[in-house]
């Protein structure tokens, strides 16, 4: 099984959807996430949500889902692009229970809000924090950056 096969299946089911294929992932529009993941789970046997994370591209954020199919032994990488002024995406925890805590972690580290999540709190960092440590623009007074190394010469 390959990404392109999954892409064809998605195209057949949702002809109007703008799905983009990158070498390692499928990028789908944010609004279609719940529909597509429901389809992938029920008809293409991607029943395991392996990982939810995000990537900070500075001008936008990517939310990354790794879906695994035990039947086909295939891992699909699904991406959703969110803009910085609206960091919200639909929660998939209603489909996979494992997404619950993974989404909490993504919220904790990147500040992406998952709409309709059952319990969207910080999972590891103290509740009092207001910033999100894995963002590129993260700064704090007691945060000590690593000094520039001169390599072996220095």
């Amino acid at each position: 099984m390959q990404n392109s096969e999954v892409l064809i299946q998605i195209k057949n089911r949702f002809p109007d959807l703008a799905v983009e294929e990158t070498p390692n992932a499928l990028v789908i529009p944010k609004t279609a996430l719940l529909e597509v993941s429901t389809f992938l789970k029920s008809e293409m046997a991607f029943e395991n949500c392996h990982c939810v994370t995000a990537v900070d591209r500075k001008d936008k954020m990517e939310v990354v889902y790794h879906l695994y199919s035990f039947l086909n032994h295939f891992m699909l990488t699904l991406k959703v692009i969110v803009t910085l002024d609206d960091l919200a995406v639909e929660s998939v925890s209603c489909l996979c229970r494992s997404a619950d805590w993974l989404e909490r972690e993504t919220f904790d580290l990147f500040g992406i809000r998952f709409v309709n999540h059952p319990d969207l709190r910080r999972i590891m960092n103290p509740d009092a924090w207001s910033d999100h440590p894995l963002r590129k623009d993260f700064k704090r007074a007691d945060f000590i950056p690593r000094p520039q190394s001169q390599g072996l010469k220095g």
Partner: protein, 176 residues
């Protein structure tokens, strides 16, 4: 028995020939007893805890110096071996546990993380840069990443030395 016979409380307890009378000061005797039964708190925070467990096991045998009684409650402990990385969230817990320990209490910072952040000094948002940063006074620093069990045993023996040579009744009271 000879008068210069080696006895455990050497330099503190004087033993008379015949072995039926010993002479000492009550304070010295208390210090000796205190140093010889330092009960540690089971407080392993990360990989240093593995070395602490190895120290407790038969090969290195922490029981030889009377510190093998790892307790699960801070109220029964004398020494807190901070073995590992202190995260920000654990910091509050550490302070609470330290406050719950009865006086006299001692702290051993085991490993580079507990001393000053170690490899987590740079580029980390979630690690406290050492035990002293939390306002918990440290008696003995054991360096290493992680320290070998011999190193920890040496640290405990240094603490025993400190207790036996202390001027005040508790080394912690004069620090505050």
């Amino acid at each position: 028995m000879a008068i210069n016979e080696q006895i455990p409380g050497e330099r503190i307890i004087e033993k008379f020939p015949g072995g039926e009378i010993i002479l000492t000061k009550s304070e010295d005797l208390m210090k000796w007893a205190k140093g010889s039964s330092l009960w540690p708190l089971t407080f392993g925070l990360s990989c240093c805890a593995i070395e602490m467990m190895a120290t407790g096991a038969s090969r290195f045998d922490i029981d030889r110096i009377g510190s093998g009684v790892f307790r699960g409650s801070p109220r029964q402990c004398d020494v807190m071996i901070v073995a590992g990385t202190i995260c920000v969230k654990m910091g509050d817990c550490l302070k609470k546990l330290y406050a719950q320990m009865p006086e006299p209490k001692y702290v051993i910072a085991m490993g580079n993380c507990a001393i000053g952040g170690g490899i987590f000094y740079h580029d980390t948002y979630s690690v406290v840069k050492g035990t002293e940063e939390l306002g918990v006074p440290v008696d003995v620093y054991v360096a290493g990443c992680p320290p070998r069990p011999e190193n920890l045993l040496h640290g405990i023996m240094k603490l025993q030395e400190k207790i036996k040579n202390a001027k005040q009744r508790s080394p912690n009271t004069d620090k505050k």
